[in-house]
């Protein structure tokens, strides 16, 4: 299982690591109990600062995707997939809420927003109805 980071991307490197590890867990490529490489190894392989990898691992630990066990290493947590899905739903809720508040401020009614949302969902490829 490989990850790749784009140093020219506008997204922070640590967020790229977090995103790719989370996606690998969701896709089933990283199973619970899998040992992630040590911070220094991943930093050396990706040619980045170890603090960046440590920051990514910390974020994944806070999101309960990985478990840090000190010298024993960092493992994919049991139920990591469920936590990622929960977090994704929570993030979507927060972002939708902000978006709706913005549109409400611009004078759109609840019915108009609902219609727009359904309209966009039907045009989005790969989304289950």
């Amino acid at each position: 299982m490989e990850i790749e980071i784009d140093t020219q991307s506008s997204q922070a490197v640590y967020l790229q690591i977090v995103g790719q590890i989370s996606r690998a867990v969701q896709d089933g490529n990283l199973k619970p109990g899998h040992t992630l490489p040590p911070v220094r190894q991943l930093a050396n392989d990706l040619m980045i600062n170890p603090n960046t990898v440590a920051k990514a691992y910390k974020q994944l630990e806070v999101a309960r995707v990985v478990v840090g066990a000190g010298r024993r290493g960092t493992f994919i947590a049991d139920g990591a997939k469920d936590y990622i899905e929960q977090n994704n739903k929570l993030d979507a809720k927060v972002e939708l809420n902000n978006l709706m508040k913005t549109f409400q401020g611009r004078g759109l009614s609840g019915k108009e927003m609902r219609n727009l949302l359904f309209d966009q969902i039907t045009h989005l490829k790969g989304v289950k109805p």
Binding site: I5, D6, T7, T35, P38, D45
Partner: protein, 276 residues
């Protein structure tokens, strides 16, 4: 019998290590280092640093081969001196390995720093700690034994069973061998790309670590054998027999690496892509 075998080994090493397998192993090292940024390496195939390193190492191997050849003629034909055979079978190989270590330092310490990092960097999410490949007690046992041998030498010196020269010789030998094997082992775990990965895919790194561990245990065995000779005058293997075992192991390992089908692929790719 042992002397004849040692002489044969001294002749074989010239062809196996210095002429055939050695330059291949050096090219593996150069090729692997270019994997840092293959795109850049292809675009800058006319850079000189790698060519110079490649040529210098080839000349170093040839000079060593010529030197050993001359020494073999001198001590086996003109002035037969069997007592030098064990040195002829082992010392040139050790000099060659030292040369390879210097090349590694030059490549990773200088040449690799010139290559810029690529825009998109990939990394494997497989952990490469020592305990991911072998149980840690195997590693600790080897260095524990080396430590015990050193302690026993010190104890015997304090009891006037050995002189200061034997103590110094054994302590410095153990320190040098212990340091080199330790550095090699951790270097094989630390580096991102390895020729073993290319040759044996996912099991490659495990094989590399196991080769290193076997190397450490051979060194422990050599130290133990020397200790028994120095202190108790018990000779399980003579110095010549030990040289034979060590020399044979190194030659077999080099031949195994150099004749592997993937090894030829590496060399072909290296020549085709990175050297213009």
């Amino acid at each position: 019998m042992t002397d004849t075998l040692l002489l044969m080994l001294a002749i074989i090493q010239v062809f196996v290590i210095f002429i055939y397998a050695g330059p291949i192993m050096a090219r593996h090292l150069l090729y692997i280092s270019l994997k840092k940024n293959p795109k850049w390496a292809v675009e800058h195939a006319n850079r000189t640093g790698y060519k110079i390193a490649d040529k210098l190492f080839w000349w170093f191997s040839c000079l060593l081969a010529a030197g050993v050849g001359a020494a073999i003629i001198q001590y086996a034909v003109i002035n037969p001196t069997p007592s030098y055979f064990y040195e002829l079978a082992l010392v040139p190989t050790l000099i060659w390995v030292f040369g390879l270590l210097l090349l590694t330092v030059y490549v990773y310490g200088y040449l690799l720093k010139v290559i810029p990092s690529p825009e998109v960097v990939k990394a494997n999410l497989i952990s490469r700690r020592l305990k991911d490949y072998v149980p840690l007690w195997i590693f600790y046992l080897a260095y524990g034994l080396l430590g015990l041998i050193c302690l026993y030498y010190c104890y015997c010196y304090s009891q006037n069973l050995i002189d200061i020269d034997a103590l110094n010789q054994s302590l410095s030998w153990t320190f040098i061998i212990g340091s080199i094997t330790l550095i090699t082992l951790f270097y094989s775990l630390r580096r991102k790309h390895s020729e073993f990965d290319i040759m044996f895919a996912e099991s490659g790194r495990k094989y590399e670590v196991m080769v290193n561990i076997i190397g450490i245990y051979i060194m422990v065995f050599v130290a133990l054998n020397k200790m028994l000779i120095d202190i108790h005058q018990i000779e399980i293997f003579s110095q010549s027999q030990m040289s034979l075992i060590l020399g044979l192991s190194v030659n077999v390992f080099f031949m195994w690496m150099a004749t592997h089908p993937k090894s030829k692929e590496i060399i072909a790719k290296y020549k085709l892509k990175y050297i213009s």
